[in-house]
């Protein structure tokens, strides 16, 4: 293999003059992060204020930890919401994390391009459906009596004429439906990163494995998986960091009053506790609390991965 000689970095602005186009391209993402991620952080002070919009972030009265105390002492639902958030996210991680990997490997093994493209498109499709639509579908499928599954089970006499499988009306069945619907919705989209990682694996490795007599499963186990290990680890750490974050629409749409104590999560809690009654400082306090826990989780995950000899994310 021949390597082209790369000019050594010179002192002064030589490196900048050479790569200024690349740096210019970097400006946009930097601006994005500054404007949408760093600037709003100034608003964190709201969490420590009796915030009034007319007085502004810097003019409102400072109240120390009052907002935090109020939420912790006066709102017993916070504990439930926290528990549900972690549990639903954890279930989602366990059931949902391996799925895109398995799917990506399976897609990668499809030799006929036509079938591959069609199945990929069909797998991506649910990602583009809004949760409102999915919520309607879930109701049509899983509702008691009128839902497709319960009606079918009754017809086949697997359950009695007055019985129902409580998919949406009891805690654990609801949690499972919630998790599986989430997996179904996101697994196709999740394969994209893994597929590109698989493409990056050196084909010579597969060839060598074949010559050594490895069958398909052995190739997957000894070549494909180790080849995308880095990607898997980085995505796992990022996912663990997201354990405290939960979207609003999914639990709000899929939840109902019969499973209120199972479907109330931090996002829906914030909506009720702070947004509906315009208590922005309380929303800020809960948000800050969420971020701190998220930071702890992601740091721990990163630390553990590094200890296990992987690269981590920083």
């Amino acid at each position: 293999m021949s390597t082209r000689e790369i000019p050594r970095r010179k002192t002064g602005k030589g490196w900048f003059r050479r790569d200024w186009r690349l740096y210019a391209m970097l400006l946009l993402p930097i601006a994005f992060y500054l404007i949408f991620c760093y600037k709003p952080m100034i608003g964190i002070v709201m969490a420590f204020e009796k915030f009034s919009k007319s007085k502004g972030i810097f003019g409102s009265k400072w109240v120390g930890l009052d907002n935090f105390k109020f939420i912790i002492n006066k709102m017993p639902d916070l504990g439930t919401a926290l528990k549900n958030t972690l549990l639903l996210n954890f279930m989602g991680l366990i059931a949902g994390f391996p799925m895109p990997i398995i799917l990506a490997i399976m897609l990668n093994e499809i030799r006929c391009t036509g079938i591959k493209k069609v199945s990929q498109t069909m797998l991506y499709l649910p990602h583009f459906l809004s949760w409102i639509i999915i919520g309607g579908m879930v109701l049509q499928i899983f509702a008691p009596t009128t839902g497709v599954i319960n009606a079918t089970l009754r017809k086949w006499r697997w359950i009695g004429p007055e019985e129902n499988v409580p998919f949406l009306t009891e805690g654990w069945p609801w949690r499972i439906v919630y998790t599986l619907v989430g997996v179904w919705q996101s697994m196709g989209w999740g394969t994209i990163l893994y597929l590109s990682a698989i493409t990056g694996i050196n084909m010579e490795l597969f060839e060598a494995a074949r010559i050594d007599g490895a069958n398909k499963m052995q190739q997957i186990w000894h070549v494909t998986l180790p080849g995308i290990r880095g990607t898997i680890v980085v995505l796992l750490i990022l996912n663990v960091g997201q354990m405290m974050n939960i979207s609003f629409d999914k639990p709000f749409v899929l939840g109902n009053s019969r499973v209120e104590e199972y479907c109330d999560v931090l996002s829906t809690f914030v909506y009720r506790a702070a947004i509906k009654n315009h208590e922005w400082a309380r929303a800020g306090a809960i948000g800050l609390f969420q971020s701190v826990v998220g930071l702890i989780l992601i740091s721990t995950a990163n630390f553990v991965t590094k200890r296990l000899g992987e690269d981590g994310i920083w």
Binding site: P76, A143, T169, R258
Partner: protein, 531 residues
């Protein structure tokens, strides 16, 4: 050469623009919030009513009017985001009383006493100095005389509860109209046994209304309250928690019984309203409860849709939720005020605030209100009665886009069409409906006003309600699901636990503060236990 020409042209354009701006210097802009209901073809920000107001009010006064559309069903949240920031319209309207109270506390809105006295005499006359205006008064400086902080809209129609059963089912069962719980239950049971709506017959429909779950249920369960054990003070203290009043438990036990006998809509808390609406017009339901005019409204006529599917079917109003301890029917009616109109300080100069009151004052004059509410003769309505009330009113899809209008969302000082007196208003209301429904409609309004009590509100902030109101409502939703669907033998346990959960998330604080406010004389509304 080209370049110079371009520069010159641009300069000329800029100069021209500044020139116009300078000429318009004595004009001011007045931004007015207007609810938007997504009526197809109707552009709130560029509608006939705006053009009329601009021509007859704006132009003579050198005021440029702008309507700012805000989605009706999320108006409180939308306004809450901008109020106090300086980006809000100069006249804001909202049904969110908590938001208004917060704005008063934070001094984000104008105190209106002087402005109203000086520029709003017609408005005061329309609202009534002693009837409506006090709803907008709060004694913030605690000197004993309350100040005017917002302008309450005048509600012309206070009836709220309409209960309807199928007239054709009654005839088929050879039954009289039910007059109490027992006869109503007998009707439900007979309808189910006869499968009058086919295999999918569901005698009693109701939907869980998530924004306020017990609001629509109280009208059934209040019939079970034992008023011999309820004082007026309790009634006000528990105004958001009727489920805790003595006897209410039996009401929920009754619903639980209906549910298990298959007499109550099984998916009341799961399905969306659309599914339940469909079932209603398919003829599966034998009872439903909404507003008194609901079955016959011109824009969504449940009766016509039902009749298309089930020939000969019709709805009739029924009064059957009789409270035994009072021997009364207990219908709640709205207070006389509608939404709240406020003028924010940060976005509005004193000059604009004066213009705002002038605009509302102009709106309250009979000829202006008439046009703004009814539109153009020959297009929006085809004729007028001898009394001068528009008739043959055209629905929105029957008029060209540029004539589409929404009376209530633009003429927000009046909640309902105003024709000068209660009698004329009632006559006007009836004319909006197909004449063949008039007898039913009249009966429905009489029923809805029988033994009525006025909904409860408080002047000034109830801090606990602001803090915990939505938490309590969410738990009330769970409460309703649990007590209706639980096994009958577990009912007592489930009920007690669910009530306890409501108390814990803040209902206790609310009850206590409501009680205090009642004793301070800040409560409005009536107690049905009073003779």
């Amino acid at each position: 050469m080209k370049k110079t020409l371009a520069i010159l042209l641009t300069l000329a354009l800029l100069l021209g623009l500044t020139g116009t701006a300078l000429a318009d210097d004595d004009w001011i802009t007045l931004k007015v919030e207007a609810f938007d209901r997504d009526i197809p073809g109707f552009n709130v920000a560029d509608c006939m009513q705006l053009h009329y107001a601009q021509e007859h009010f704006g132009d003579p006064n050198h005021i440029k009017l702008e309507f700012v559309p805000v989605a009706r069903w999320t108006e409180g949240e939308k306004l809450g985001l901008v109020l106090g920031t300086g980006n809000e319209p100069n006249i804001c309207i909202t049904y969110d009383g908590g938001l208004v109270n917060k704005a008063i506390e934070d001094e984000e809105i104008y105190q209106l006493d002087e402005l109203l006295e000086e520029y709003g005499q017609n408005l005061i006359a329309f609202l009534g100095r002693d009837t409506l205006l006090p709803f907008g008064q709060v004694d913030t400086d605690e000197d004993g005389t309350p100040e005017q902080w917002f302008i309450p809209a005048r509600r012309l129609e206070v009836e709220n509860v309409g209960n309807f059963i199928r007239a054709d089912w009654l005839a088929a069962l050879n039954m009289e109209k039910p007059t109490d719980i027992e006869s109503f239950e007998a009707y439900l049971r007979a309808a189910k046994e006869a499968n009058l709506g086919g295999a999918q017959t569901i005698p009693m429909q109701f939907d869980l209304y998530e924004a306020n779950p017990l609001y629509n249920v109280n009208r059934f369960t209040d019939a079970f309250i034992d008023f011999s054990k309820v004082t007026e003070e309790d009634w006000f203290a528990y105004c958001r928690n009727h489920e805790m009043l003595p006897g209410a438990k039996e009401g929920y036990r009754w619903l639980n019984k209906l549910y298990h006998e298959g007499l109550l809509y099984e998916n009341f808390d799961l399905d969306d309203d659309a599914a339940s609406d469909t079932a209603l017009t398919q003829g599966y339901f034998g009872f439903f409860s909404m507003q008194p005019d609901q079955p016959w409204r011109p824009d969504k006529n449940y009766e016509v849709e039902l009749e298309n599917n089930v020939p000969g079917a019709s709805w009739t109003s029924v009064n059957c939720f009789k409270n035994a301890s009072l021997d009364k029917y207990l219908h709640d009616v709205y207070a006389a005020n509608g939404l709240s109109i406020i003028i924010p300080v940060k976005s509005t100069t004193k000059e604009q605030a004066i213009a705002a009151i002038k605009y509302l004052d102009w709106m309250s004059l009979p000829e202006n209100m008439f046009f703004m509410q009814n539109g153009v003769e020959g297009i929006n309505y085809l004729a007028v009665t001898e009394e001068g009330i528009p008739t043959e009113v055209q629905s929105a899809d029957a008029v060209p886009d540029e004539y589409k209008m929404h009376a209530g969302d633009i003429v927000f000082i009046s909640n309902g069409l105003y024709y000068g007196s209660d009698e004329r208003n009632a006559a006007g209301r009836a004319l909006k409906f197909d004449a063949k429904y008039t007898p039913e409609l009249i009966q429905s309004y009489i029923d809805a006003g029988t033994d009525a009590w006025t909904q409860i509100s408080f002047s000034g902030t109830i801090q606990a309600e602001n803090d915990f109101g939505s938490m309590v409502q969410s738990k009330q939703g769970a409460f309703l699901s649990k007590v209706i669907t639980c096994a009958p033998e577990d009912f007592d346990k489930v009920y007690d636990e669910a009530v306890d959960a409501i108390r814990k998330v803040g209902a206790d604080d609310m009850i206590e503060e409501f009680r205090e406010a009642y004793n301070e004389g800040r409560a409005r509304g009536t107690f049905p236990g009073n003779p």
